[in-house]
Symmetry: C2
Subunit: 328 residues, 2 copies
Amino acid sequence: MSEIRKDPIVNRWVITLDDKTFVPIADSEFSKDVLPEQDDLCPFCPGNEGKTPFSISEVKDKSGKWKVRVIPNNNPYLKVETPMYRKGVGIFDMISGTGANEIFIETPLHNADMDTLAIEQISDVIKSYRSRFLDLKNDTRIEYILIFKNRGIRAGGHLSHLHSQLMALPVIPKNVAEEIDSAKQYYDFKKRCIYCDLVDNEIQMKDRVVKESEYFICITPYASTSPFEMWIVPKQHKSHFSAIDDKEAADLAYVLKDAVYRLNKALNRPAYNYMIHTTPLKMPNLDHYHWHIELLPRIKSIAGFEWGSGFYINPTIPEESAEYLRNI
Amino acid sequence: MSEIRKDPIVNRWVITLDDKTFVPIADSEFSKDVLPEQDDLCPFCPGNEGKTPFSISEVKDKSGKWKVRVIPNNNPYLKVETPMYRKGVGIFDMISGTGANEIFIETPLHNADMDTLAIEQISDVIKSYRSRFLDLKNDTRIEYILIFKNRGIRAGGHLSHLHSQLMALPVIPKNVAEEIDSAKQYYDFKKRCIYCDLVDNEIQMKDRVVKESEYFICITPYASTSPFEMWIVPKQHKSHFSAIDDKEAADLAYVLKDAVYRLNKALNRPAYNYMIHTTPLKMPNLDHYHWHIELLPRIKSIAGFEWGSGFYINPTIPEESAEYLRNI
């Protein structure tokens, strides 16, 4: 028996069913056990810094060695050096490839994964995200910064050394604009933030909660597009990720590590993506929009139906995913 | 040097660049040469009709054998038998899994592909699509019918015997609603259909045209999300696919076969999807919306950046894709 669930924020419909025949594609192709602690060929390993561009910033340990390193992508999709212009091309519109594309090397260890790092180390990564936001904000051509991780080949991540990326964009991406517009409509109607309502509802209902910490809640969303999808949402209203303080960063590191640990246990180290959705740089604090992280295991192929319609099929009931993850 | 192109219809941005290092994932895993003409284990092969549910409809040859067979999916995601209801679940909305999920077996031959079928055979498939639209329209609970093909495992198609699918939905999918809304805004501003303008522009510009026939044009869209993406668009304004006449169906069969032939030659039988985008069933003929087919080779993984933002990266310039495909 299937049901069709609506995501309350982006008006996306998901056919939700309990398909016992579903077999997850569960392999990031990066198994901790088979990777060495250092790999001479890896451009992200200590000692090979010469194979990558200069460091934009570094977090160092007491002995002066880097713990987290931020570098420009070797082959960036967008460059700050490209002069910004907009052009009409016949009936179409284009913008120059102005922006930035940076990489966060999250650990010196080649074989580390999120669930083996110290919380302090993950917290340093989160604080590196924050400082890149604060720096890039000074470039007035940038409208939006997207931080994301592609872990495993099926998730678009081709290097096994743990890293995440940043894209600084001269336009606001479609999905973010939609979320904000939709949250605004809800606010205009109810005078409440839809994410705040979501947090309250999930804490009260309990059945979709994977983890609750001091500042965050980790849930499987009601209209999850994929089995074991999780969202990590601040419990208090916060519209800009970059306003995260050190205490919150440490708590987020704890919840993020916990989520990846559960995912890795549940699905044997699947490929996954996470993305930080936040308010566009030039917007003030918004009463109607709330930053959050979406964590998506890539264990299901996206077929024509889903691609063509924006209508998803989830073979697992989100409440059962949450229960399974909670019990790990 | 990259540029950022905007899709004029759905306001989606695509970073377009000429990345010579891009290697397409090019294998549908179904090679014509290794498949037998008949497979005793295949539920879609003649002689095995007992392994599938009853036929909803059949196109027969002169000797009375079926050429095209339409059946319900064995494990349908949605069922006409499910009573239709809408329910609030806390702060969320759901609908019962009411609808239909049917399969078009496009040929009796186990090893056929779109580019080896006779045009008349493909035309019979298209006319079968049309008759299912006209029949399912009588069920007033159905709001939208999506016809799509998943060809190859990477495209979500797990059976090698050539087939396509139909999902009849009690709601209008998000992507379709967005296209229609956006086309309506354009129409309100210009009093012209954006797809008609697109057809005129592409015929005039020539550089993105792959094929032009009597009734259709096949193009690589200006803001293609993937290398070798193609759209097949009626040259005259037509809002409902189901209004296609027999002459147009034969011409569409010719253009569709041609497009898949070129794709198979260019990329060595890649996995691909196609989807028919059309006006929702209960809407009258719309001056602002124009049905079309989107054909998408699945040769590129979708990473977190794209998933999280609805912002795509295309490593190939669409004009170069069109030239390459034209020259095959």
